[in-house]
Point group: C2
Chain length 488, copies 2
């Protein structure tokens, strides 16, 4: 989480969530004029010094305009604009961002943009930008920074900060350790609130998102938390020990960040202490980090269902290829197998060609219906709502629901089949095959995610491949199989 | 957001995010034993009084066990367990929840469960539970409550509270007004921090998530905010006016809650004032509500992509049917139209039956590839990253990426087609058709969500129907069309 000066973090005036978007539009507008001018000028003689002059002037004018606009924005909004521009424009704007914002923007900006920004900065700027970051912020950036810069910067740290940096860099992504910070106010339990208040007045400001301060003993063991509310509503003479709450939710550095986020959500927390196995206070997680975790998790899920990872909408094409091709090739294989299965019934299809046009309906609806079941189940799994005890109830329920939907749907489909083929038997085969395939889809929609989760796999992505594969292949097989038996 | 007593809101001890799930498992375990006993007993003579006695005893024993367990939990965890049980068990547990938790649980529990819980409560209990709720909490529940209960409860409110209740009930869902609360600490700008501190000491506790108090004039016009940090680090003699921040982000009651959530996320806010058009302070939004908004939005999106709304995994089957059937029937229609299109090429297919088995591959991959593009675009739209200026860049980029992926993929597909049909011409037609169809998918994947968004429609759901429809119908049409031209 960025540790900016108050004026930088406090957005001015009424909420206009489109502020950033308006700024983006303006930036694009200026960049556009900019590009036009350059083309115009370049179309003239290159050795025409006047045109160079003109270009230079317009250039400087545009840059002044852009820099004034961009540097007036909140770092989070600058980051948003950088994320929203193609790479060249992005770097052009990044050069115009004032050095005082560099640190905040680097911390706010998405990973897939950060790299390119860091590459574009020279060593001094990087050292300057990262010089006064906190250990936890530095740890977030370190993987993207040139080693020599990290080496340089960590020279400037105190021994304690250096220890924290090493610690923070040690924790795996998706762990509480990777999102915790070290800005905590500690007090002893045997002092009065008056003492605490006087102590706080000696600080320049409280760490962001301080809703409670931590009561520790000499060994830094966490004894309880003193909420600012308790500090403010009680009389100054009272001792900390008598108003601190000994019941608090504490995290371990190795807890999963998603589970921690779940706890913040359920219990409406603003901050939570992180303690090691010996009960010593080692860090703090704040809601600001948690909100990012929640957002990232939901984005990841949306993307993984389409078989992708996070992608810069302006990333180099090669990167996009690497991101998308595997999934498509995988689907291509399953589709090929399915059509191979169908091709085993060549004779049947060549006798009744209509089957060729109906079979894709059977396969498709099975997939759609299974996908509905799977979506519900994956969400129920995500919040831990599914246990050994109720999974069979769920299977039964989904089967029943699907069977009933299938009756309706397959009746409609049968009418269509009859209309297009003029044959009642074909319509009946269609109906039977469709219901079977939808039931298969439902069974897979429940069982595959449940099993994958039990084995610690991500339920979303792999499951949907399996689902399509099964509903396509079996859809063709059942439909054409029944047709072969009853219609020939 | 629930306004519980500290002991109820503070979860004890280390984070074990599985606490709630363990409790759930235990509850299910006991309910299971319970059911077994009842079956056992019922299998005996009904008029056997001993068995009734036994049943009664076990009954009471189980209930005691359950109620002890459930009532030891945090209201949010009780809500979780109720959400995770089938309706009968849910109501059995609900009866065992202590009256002191009723209010909190009702506020925590998901909408689709709340109704059934309220139905199961008698009038007095409802009045008792809702009696001491704040106006904003009552407003959240009011739609589900029996009118006479609302009438009864609002009698107990002060005129001010009643005015707030009416106001809060007036705001549309998804508006800031619907998630704001009224628990705010107001101070004047001309007093010293000492006065503020003394004023706060007169309060029993600060409202949840108070990170700033609001500085207003006599007309309740918001002049600035005083962060607790500023209050605590500055000397008591200083005046509020000199340390309050006149720059703050304020919301309007009619702003969209999602946009407000975006602002909380970007600017790392804990609370934000809500002011009316005259700049008067009317309410406050806290991060606790915002986190719920973020979660609900992402859930809604995941479900709407599968053509569903929020569904209780144990909802009555009829409800599930109403939820799922429309989407499946819609897909059935598009699939039927696609297969009708294909059936226009009956002669071609009957001449070269292999085409029947290959055409579904062409259609399917076009859909998959378009879905990847669409997923990226919908997410970029959601964060406002797409503007008139860059939409064409995006189209071009997606076309290029898709074309390259298409080259690779269609080459593989061509090899398969050649292998299965032994015909080079078929393989070439396959390749051409597949690339075309993937390009169509990409174009639709970008343009449809963009256009739908411009017209204020939800991009996710409708777009994916259109996508499948187009890639199926056109996939068949192009493939069989090319085949008719070049292979006959």
């Amino acid at each position: 989480m960025t540790q900016t000066t108050p004026d930088a973090t406090t957005p001015v005036g009424r909420l206009d969530p489109e502020d950033a978007q308006l700024a983006l539009a303006t930036v694009q507008e200026v960049l556009h004029r900019h590009a036009l001018v350059e083309n115009l000028v370049h179309r003239q003689e290159q050795n025409d010094s006047r045109s160079d002059l003109v270009e230079g002037l317009l250039h400087r004018q545009h840059e002044a305009e852009l820099s004034a606009l961009v540097n007036s924005l909140h770092p989070a909004d600058i980051a948003f604009i950088l994320e929203s521009l193609p790479n060249d424009d992005r770097l052009l704007i990044w050069r115009l961002v004032g050095a005082e914002h560099d640190a905040d923007v680097l911390l706010e900006v998405a990973d897939w943009v950060r790299e390119s920004l860091i590459e574009a900065m020279d060593r001094q700027d990087l050292v300057a930008a990262t010089g006064n970051m906190d250990a936890d912020e530095l740890a977030d950036l370190a993987p993207d920074l040139p080693p020599d810069v990290v080496a340089e910067v960590q020279k400037g740290l105190t021994i304690e900060e250096r220890a924290r940096l090493i610690e923070a860099m040690g924790y795996p992504d998706d762990s509480v350790g990777s999102i915790m910070d070290f800005e905590m106010v500690r007090v002893r339990e045997d002092v009065s609130l008056e003492v605490v208040l006087r102590y706080l007045r000696r600080l320049p400001e409280l760490p962001d998102h301080t809703d409670q301060i931590f009561v520790v003993d000499r060994k830094d063991k966490l004894l309880g938390t003193l909420t600012l509310s308790a500090l403010l509503v009680n009389e100054p003479e009272i001792d900390v020990s008598s108003v601190m709450s000994p019941d608090y939710l504490s995290l371990s550095p190795l807890d999963s960040d998603s589970e921690a986020a779940g706890a913040f959500e359920r219990y409406d927390l603003v901050s939570a202490p992180v303690v090691d196995d010996l009960g010593r206070l080692v860090g703090r997680v704040t809601i600001a980090e948690v909100v990012d975790v929640i957002r990232e998790d939901s984005d990841e899920q949306a993307l993984s269902r389409a078989g992708m990872q996070e992608e810069d909408i302006f990333a180099p094409v090669t990167m996009a290829l690497r991101n998308r091709a595997p999934w498509l090739l995988l689907n291509l294989c399953t589709a090929a197998i399915a059509s191979f299965v169908a091709s085993r019934f060549e004779d049947t299809v060549s006798t009744i060609v209509m089957l060729a046009f109906l079979m894709s309906i059977v396969a498709g609806i099975g997939g759609n219906s299974g996908n509905q079941t799977m979506t519900l189940i994956i969400r129920a799994l995500a919040v831990g709502r599914i246990t050994e005890k109720n999974v069979w109830q769920l299977v039964k329920r989904e089967m029943l629901v699907t069977f009933l939907v299938g009756l309706v749907g397959s009746a409609v489909a049968a009418v269509f089949a009859w209309g297009i083929s003029g044959s009642i038997p074909i319509a009946l085969v269609m109906m039977a095959a469709m219901i079977c395939n939808m039931l298969i889809g439902a069974a897979i929609g429940v069982l595959v995610p449940v099993v994958r989760t039990r084995f610690g796999k991500d339920p979303a992505m792999g499951s949907s491949v399996l689902l399509t594969f099964a509903t396509d292949s079996l859809g063709f097989f059942i439909f054409l199989g029944l047709a072969t038996i009853f219609l020939l």
